[in-house]
């Protein structure tokens, strides 16, 4: 069994990877982000980045995590509830700056890690960097849905 095919089994889910616009996406509903990071470490995948999407006001945020597995780009989406999600910094030190950046841009707290001073704009209130006007917010959030 290939590494890719073995991932759902290792995560204990029935879903399968689906190729879509440049990445292999797996629905990881019910799986914690730390479990995912441990699995990625176990199979030797390389962390790439996290992309944050702002959903309509009452739905919070979605974070898309990307890893590389032997040239295959993997994508996993997580809903963020109450603006908090577990940090994977201790499992994957490469996430340090992107977790801090998302905290500064969207005030999403990555629980379980120490926070250094702000990364991008020291002295500025977190959450201002990607504040959008209502029209922009609508366009962004409809896609994110």
């Amino acid at each position: 069994m290939s590494h890719l095919a073995s991932i759902p089994q290792k995560l204990g889910i029935d879903a399968q990877f689906e190729a879509r616009h440049g990445a292999q996406w797996l629905n990881v509903e019910g799986v914690g982000v730390r479990t995912l990071a441990e699995t990625m470490n176990a199979i030797g995948a390389r962390f790439i980045t996290i992309t944050a999407y702002e959903l309509p006001a009452d739905e919070g945020f979605r974070l898309e995590y990307h890893w590389d597995l032997d040239g295959t780009l993997l994508g996993f989406a997580f809903q963020v509830v109450d603006k908090k999600i577990d940090s994977i910094f201790d499992l994957c030190p490469g996430v340090d700056w992107i977790e801090r950046e998302i905290y500064e841009e969207y005030v999403i707290e990555f629980v379980g890690r120490p926070y250094d001073p702000l990364l991008l704009l020291p002295g500025v209130t977190p959450g201002v960097n990607l504040r959008k006007d209502p029209n922009q917010l609508e366009a962004a959030t409809e896609v994110a849905k």
Binding site: H21, G71, L73, G94, D96, L120, V143
Partner: protein, 361 residues
């Protein structure tokens, strides 16, 4: 007793805004803290306020060295959502431009590294060679920095005389073989400043998820051109250059050998350049479907990834996220300078070929 030495935010060697606070004992660096954001431009937000043609021009300005790579990655991410694919000739032209940009970036870096080593004759030699590459880029695109070559569905300008460019590439390759590579790989001046300095172990490179020449200099054979070929790279024969010592010498060697690989790719692409169209037609007629698309490209400094979202029939992207290579590699500087002599730290920092403009975006 330890003390802190701040380097930056106006870097003495690289003249760009970034700060490294080094905790030293005597002349030895024990630890370091990195600070970025001095040139933060919020380009990702700006991208949401512009249409896809304007976004192309905007993202070209993420970086002043690998500006072509940014629009290439962006266009490759947008094309599936627009339902278009670049024609074969456009894909070849993208490869040619990307490799010319890699040459210019690597030679620029070699010059700066030479300067930091106190090897100013070599600095002048490298910059003279770089001018030759810049001349080729200007001959193709009409521009020296922001080339405006990419568009959704192809490229804006054709290569009308591949033979002339091939001639220039051959002259450049000869100069590299005769001058630059022997000096960097054999000169005692270069090697005494670089051997065993600023080591990033393979294990640390994996842990920090570094990319590009930094990863390859630490023994990781990762290269998106080979692992996940885009444009016309699947049709090119080349080797991924890997070194295992993880020090400044290894980073220098990887880049020097990659210059030769780029020349090899350029020769193939120019000789096999297929006939045909260079774009898919009037891009004002392009309509995007709802969704998110991701694209990766091997920039001179390593993997760039763009994540782009559109809403049906909207011309402005709803979200553009870019992870640049320096953003992935720069945190590893902390581990490279641990245990190093203070005097070696400018060269160690320069050895990752950092792009602060990319990092701050």
């Amino acid at each position: 007793m330890s003390y802190k030495i701040p380097m930056g935010p106006y870097h003495p060697g690289l003249e760009e805004p970034y700060k490294l606070d080094m905790i030293c004992e005597g002349e030895t660096v024990k630890d370091a803290e990195l600070h970025i954001g001095f040139n933060f431009r919020n380009i990702e937000h700006l991208a949401e306020t512009r249409n896809f043609i304007q976004v192309n021009a905007l993202m070209e300005r993420v970086c002043g060295i690998c500006s072509f790579i940014h629009t290439l990655t962006l266009c490759q991410a947008m094309e599936p959502l627009a339902g278009v694919e670049a024609p074969p000739r456009a894909k070849y032209i993208r490869v040619i431009m990307a490799e010319l940009e890699r040459l210019h970036s690597h030679v620029l870096w070699a010059g700066i590294a030479a300067k930091l080593m106190g090897f100013k004759t070599m600095f002048m030699t490298c910059f003279e060679l770089r001018e030759q590459v810049m001349d080729i880029l200007a001959a193709i695109s009409g521009n020296r920095v922001n080339y405006s070559m990419n568009r959704v569905g192809g490229v804006n300008r054709d290569i009308e005389d591949p033979a002339a460019i091939l001639k220039m590439v051959e002259a450049l390759e000869k100069a590299m073989v005769k001058t630059v590579i022997p000096i960097f790989t054999g000169s005692s001046t270069a090697l005494s400043r670089c051997n065993g300095v600023g080591v990033l172990s393979r294990e640390k490179a994996i842990e920090m998820a570094v990319v590009g020449p930094i990863a390859r200099a630490s023994g990781l054979p990762q290269d998106i051109r080979k692992a996940a070929p885009y444009a016309a790279y699947a049709e090119m024969e080349f080797d991924v250059q890997v070194q295992t010592s993880g020090d400044v010498t290894a980073r220098l060697l990887v880049r020097a050998l990659e210059i030769m690989e780029s020349c090899k790719i350029l020769r193939q692409a120019l000789e096999k350049l297929p006939p045909g169209e260079i774009d898919t037609g009037d891009d004002r007629k392009i309509r995007f479907s709802t969704g998110t698309s991701v694209s990766r490209v091997e920039a001179p400094r390593g993997e760039v990834i763009y994540s782009v979202s559109f809403k049906e029939n909207q011309k402005n992207p709803a979200r553009v996220h870019v992870r640049t290579p320096t953003y992935a590699t720069m945190p590893a500087i902390r581990y490279m300078v641990q245990g190093a002599r203070l005097a070696d730290t400018p060269l160690i920092q320069a050895s990752i070929d950092p792009c602060y403009s990319c990092t701050d975006r």
